[in-house]
């Protein structure tokens, strides 16, 4: 990797005397700017071997929705936009769907009803959004009593800001879905260790590097020396003096293991006693400081890389000589080496896809991912994800992604809300996620080993019961918004001029996104009954014995099929002239929605 020349060397060479404070300031500017200006980039487009794309014929609305559900928490694209993407080739569509730009107005068009908000022009960093949501800006529709929680001095500001960033229309939910994965599952920094300022800075730096198309190893190097990581692992206290490393080797180990999937298999003694030990030496001489945080030593969001207290000269790691004046240079050089390590080549693509999209990767699938990943001379995460998202692998029936609590909440919220106001006024009750399910962004269940996984959520009867209870007992948050019924016409096609069948299928496609694969007779019967009459299916199909339940065989009988057809052909009254009738019709749709998201099909996604 090209090493940028520090500015201060130019001044020394010209013998111009510059005040030390100016040099420091210029150095600071360089430190921040060089993150983007001086770096390599890697192309974000292009097919990859091992990941052949699905055919144009196969690429349809359902495939588009699956990509959006997996990689963008559902996104905010309209039905028309989804159809437009489905009509394109997958290769063309994916370049529009998944970008790391601050805004993706096709994926997330702004909320035009909030005229002053102009989210499509607002800074989309966590820092920028936090400032905005906490401000008295006339475009800020956040209720006044909630604004304080976005100040970085507040304990949950990072989580609150992120949860808005990933949901508000006018931003880019894909970028925040990846940002969530990076900080909560991949190279984790936990709020139990790192300050809000540190988390926000770390998050924003990673996303900036992703948006700049930096090679993956560069981004790992940026992350590895972030203040949040320093604070998480105590690395800022590591010092090398007089031939002795006063270090803990915690992150020295995890840099290899978590960052690159390198365990030293088959070379364990060298890995343990040379690579890890010397990586600890390379991670010396860092000190935290701050631009904003009140306590630089333990809250500071910036890192100063000093040569004093840093191991002099090169160190041997992975049988290479790793040089660099300070920790930052050495770690950048090490990352360049590590990305080529056989274990990294084998494990990184699996780590990435397992964290984002597939719980059960077979050995053949793993090989395909490795082929694709290693075909890139410079690893580009966006290119890899795009290729994967349109691949036969992603869209194969064998792929299974169980939603963790955060993924489930964000996807439902994104597909349900028709205005940012619903998020600002917390109609979805994110407190249930935080306090009932005990899942907070940036407070991972397993500390540095990551947050609750989808597998854990799916195997937990308790998490299931929390979601089930929230969906049923707290159903009113789906029916009423600010004392008015939710108006489903704002989301539905044809402004709600639909039959019951069309509405039920639209709901299922929008939220479950399985192409109606699992939308069988029982699902239809229950949802038709709720949409048509606001009552359960037993009462509709067996009005004389409603407590006897409704069996599948009863639905499949001739009488049952006739009743099902009759129900399905009924028309919604969302456009009735009587406001009370409209309100009731909307609430009926809301009950069907609640029923649907309490089924197992909302909690797991299959590829095909």
């Amino acid at each position: 990797m090209c090493q940028p020349r520090p500015v201060f060397n130019i001044f020394h060479a010209s013998r111009v005397r510059v005040p030390y404070a100016v040099l420091l300031a210029l150095g600071a500017l360089w430190l921040s700017a060089s993150a983007v200006l001086a770096a390599d980039t890697a192309p974000a487009t292009g097919a990859l071997p091992g990941l052949p794309a699905v055919s144009n014929a196969r690429w349809n609305d359902t495939e588009v929705r699956k990509v959006l559900h997996t990689f963008a928490f559902g996104g905010h694209a309209s039905d028309a936009q989804i159809r437009a993407w489905a009509a394109m080739t997958p290769q063309s569509a994916i370049e529009q769907m998944l970008t790391f730009a601050a805004h993706n107005l096709l994926l997330s068009p702004p909320d035009r009803r909030l005229k002053r908000e102009k989210m499509d022009t607002r800074v989309q960093t966590l820092r920028g959004l936090g400032n905005f949501f906490a401000s008295a800006n006339s475009g800020n529709y956040m209720p006044i009593d909630r604004r304080e929680s976005f100040l970085r001095s507040e304990w949950n500001a990072a989580a609150d800001t992120w949860s808005m960033a990933a949901r508000v229309r006018g931003g880019n939910p894909f970028r925040h879905r990846v940002g969530y994965w990076w900080l909560n599952h991949y190279l984790v920094a936990s709020h139990t260790a790192a300050s809000t300022w540190q988390l926000v800075r770390y998050y924003d730096d990673v996303l900036a590097a992703l948006a700049a198309n930096r090679p993956f190893e560069d981004i790992v190097a940026v992350a590895a020396v972030a203040a949040a990581i320093n604070q998480q692992y105590g690395t800022q206290y590591n010092r090398f003096w007089d031939g002795t490393c006063y270090c803990n080797e915690d992150f020295a180990r995890e840099f290899h293991q978590l960052g690159f999937g390198i365990l030293g298999v088959g070379d364990s003694d060298y890995h343990e006693f040379t690579s890890i030990k010397n990586t600890a030496k390379a991670l010396t001489g860092m000190r935290l400081t701050s631009s904003e945080a009140p306590n630089p030593e333990w809250e500071g969001e910036r890192v100063v890389f000093e040569t004093e207290g840093h191991v002099p000269g090169a160190v041997e790691i992975q049988r290479k000589s790793i040089a660099g004046a300070a920790a930052r240079e050495k770690i950048a050089a090490l990352a360049d080496i590590s990305i080529k390590h056989p274990e990294a080549r084998a494990n990184l693509p699996i780590i990435i896809i397992q964290g984002l999209a597939d719980d059960e990767i077979s050995s053949a699938e793993a090989q395909a991912l490795r082929t694709a990943w290693n075909a890139m001379p410079k690893k580009n995460l966006l290119r890899f994800l795009r290729a994967y998202a349109i691949s036969k692998l992603f869209h194969a029936r064998a792929r299974t992604k169980r939603l963790n609590s955060i993924e489930r909440f964000m996807t439902i919220a994104n597909r349900f809300a028709d205005s940012n106001i619903e998020h600002y006024r917390d109609h979805f009750g994110i407190w249930r996620l935080y306090w009932d399910e005990e899942v907070l962004p940036f407070v991972p269940w397993h500390e540095v080993f990551g947050h609750q996984t989808g597998v854990e959520a799916a195997s937990s009867a308790q998490i299931f019961s929390k979601h089930y209870n929230a969906t049923t007992q707290d159903i009113w948050r789906y029916l009423v918004q600010e004392d008015r019924p939710k108006d489903w016409r704002r989301l539905m096609p044809n402004e709600g001029h639909l039959t019951v069948r069309e509405a039920a299928e639209w709901l299922w496609r929008r939220f479950v996104a399985d192409g109606l694969r699992n939308f069988g007779a029982l699902e239809r019967a229950h949802m038709y009954a709720l949409i048509a009459h606001g009552t359960d299916a037993a009462e509709v199909f067996s009005p004389t014995t409603p407590n006897g339940g409704l069996s599948l065989s009863a639905i499949q009988s001739a009488a049952g099929q006739l009743r099902l057809t009759q129900l399905g052909n009924m028309r919604l009254k969302l456009n009735h002239t009587n406001a009370d009738v409209r309100a009731t019709a909307n609430q009926y749709v809301g009950t069907a929605f609640a029923f649907m998201i309490a089924t197992p099909f909302m909690l797991v996604q299959e590829g095909g």
Binding site: R253, S460, N518, D536, L550, L552, Q587, A594, F595
Partner: protein, 472 residues
């Protein structure tokens, strides 16, 4: 607070029993006595995982010696910083720390100290009810994730991508016992083998009973005549799940979620009824109170274990899985980060003491609690006043049926020659096959070979007999 079971609850219970029996779960035979407990006449095993590789040497230090070159001096010097002393601490300073903060103990000629903040553990050891099994070998990778998985699978030699069943699940199969998962998400320890293919790579969850909170278990019922929308939806979902469940095959990715609903609904009736008759003992209630030294998660685990012991007949489980996530991965400031967590477990006002004091005699008499982590630490402390990953660790077994004492080499002299080598760690000498295997044979005679089929080639210190570890 006691509740009188209503007729409606009685009828639901009968229906639930019928449903469970129809699903082949004939082990449910509730038999509560006046205190709400079912009698305990067979061994009960509870396994608590401490995630992070706890440094058991910090809990159990060698007796300090001022004589240079002895173990009691060299090791204390190597651990001075982890003990909160300067790296060049004097003998006097180290001895002061030893005298002030460790309670002397001895076993079979080995003199050591138990952290004073863990006074209950010391008392139980003195009473002969605690065994420290030393130099335990579970995994050599020093990788948290792999080592934890291998420890729970009971498979020392598994690689990074092996995801098999747990030794607790295998023991459950051997002993015809379910395994109750008292954690939010069931740990791999609880995963059973596929009874049709009992190799380590197959997983079957049918014997796992997830009880993350016994006092908030079941799903709410809908009134017979729904008036509100949520009642309508609830009634519909009850019908739906009951009908749809039978159409979903066991291999379906949705099957486990249907099973959650079934267990919560069917078992919930029985659990709720039993729990209505089981008061929370004051000692366990106090763990949740302001001023308790025990955090909520650990307090909940202990109350859950108490409840699981009370209703073991309802859930058919004599094996329990717990975890205690705390600051065990003590790379820096070990004394500050780790001792609070140890105190929460082992102090006189800690979690274990509360449980022990609350249990009826028969339950306490049959319970063995094993506590340990996935690996040990390095011999020498590091520059951050902590310790780094190693291999050999200590398993702590507590119970009336434990033959108390120290098993295995607690402080091998050979460590002194290596103690200053970079990365030198506590060696694992006694494979989990034998250590956990001893638990298996106590729990279910002759089950060790079934649960640990490769034990014959697993390392064990010469002369160490773990056969007498349990069954006192």
């Amino acid at each position: 607070m006691r509740h009188q079971p209503s007729r409606r609850l009685f009828l639901k219970r009968q229906l639930a029993l019928t449903a469970l029996a129809a699903n082949g779960l004939s082990w449910v035979s509730p038999q509560a006595r006046a205190d709400g407990f079912a009698a305990h006449t067979q061994p009960y095993f509870a396994n608590m995982m401490l995630n992070g590789g706890p440094d058991m040497r910090h809990l159990l230090m060698p007796a300090f010696s001022s004589i240079a070159s002895t173990y009691g001096n060299v090791f204390w010097r190597a651990r001075a910083r982890a003990q909160g002393q300067p790296g060049d601490a004097t003998n006097d300073a180290l001895e002061t720390r030893w005298n002030a903060d460790y309670l002397a103990a001895a076993s079979g000629g080995t003199e050591f100290g138990i952290l004073k903040r863990c006074g209950w553990l010391h008392d139980m050891f003195t009473a002969g009810k605690v065994a420290f099994v030393c130099a335990v070998l579970g995994d050599s990778s020093r990788d948290h994730e792999q080592a934890t998985r291998n420890m729970e699978m009971g498979n020392r030699l598994a690689n990074k991508v092996t995801y098999g069943n747990g030794w607790g699940g295998r023991l459950g199969l051997a002993a015809s016992s379910n395994v109750v998962a008292l954690t939010t998400t069931p740990r791999r320890f609880t995963f059973g083998p596929n009874p049709n293919a009992p190799d380590l790579a197959q997983v079957d969850m049918s014997r796992v009973v997830p009880v993350a909170n016994a006092r908030e278990f079941g799903l709410p019922e809908s009134p017979d005549d729904p008036e509100w929308y949520h009642h309508t939806v609830m009634r519909g979902l009850i019908d739906y799940y009951a009908e749809r469940r039978v159409t979903v095959g066991q291999s379906s990715v949705y099957h486990p979620i249907f099973e959650h609903e079934r267990e919560l609904r069917e078992l919930g009736v029985l659990i709720d009824q039993r729990m209505a008759g089981v008061d929370v003992p004051p000692a366990l209630d106090a763990l949740f109170a302001d001023g308790s030294i025990v955090g909520y998660d650990l307090a909940l685990q202990m109350r859950n274990l108490y409840d699981a012991l009370a209703m073991h007949d309802v859930i058919g489980a004599r094996i329990a899985s717990l975890e205690y996530n705390a600051a065990w991965d003590s790379h820096d400031n070990q004394r500050d980060t780790m001792e609070d967590s140890l105190e929460q477990l082992f102090a006189a006002n800690g979690a274990c003491a509360a449980l022990w004091s609350a249990l009826p005699d028969d339950a306490r008499g049959q319970l063995t609690l094993m506590i340990g982590g996935e690996f040990g630490r390095q011999l020498h402390d590091n520059g951050g006043n902590g310790t780094d990953h190693g291999e050999g660790t200590v398993m702590i077994l507590i119970g009336d049926q434990v033959a108390g004492g120290v098993y295995g080499s607690m402080f091998p002299e050979e460590e002194l020659a290596r103690i200053d080598e970079p990365g030198a760690d506590i060696h694992g000498l006694n494979a989990i096959d034998h250590v956990f295997g001893a638990v298996c044979d106590w729990f279910q005679p002759a089950s060790k070979a079934q649960v640990f089929p490769d034990y014959a080639t697993a390392p064990l210190e010469e002369g160490l007999d773990l056969g007498a570890l349990l069954g006192a």
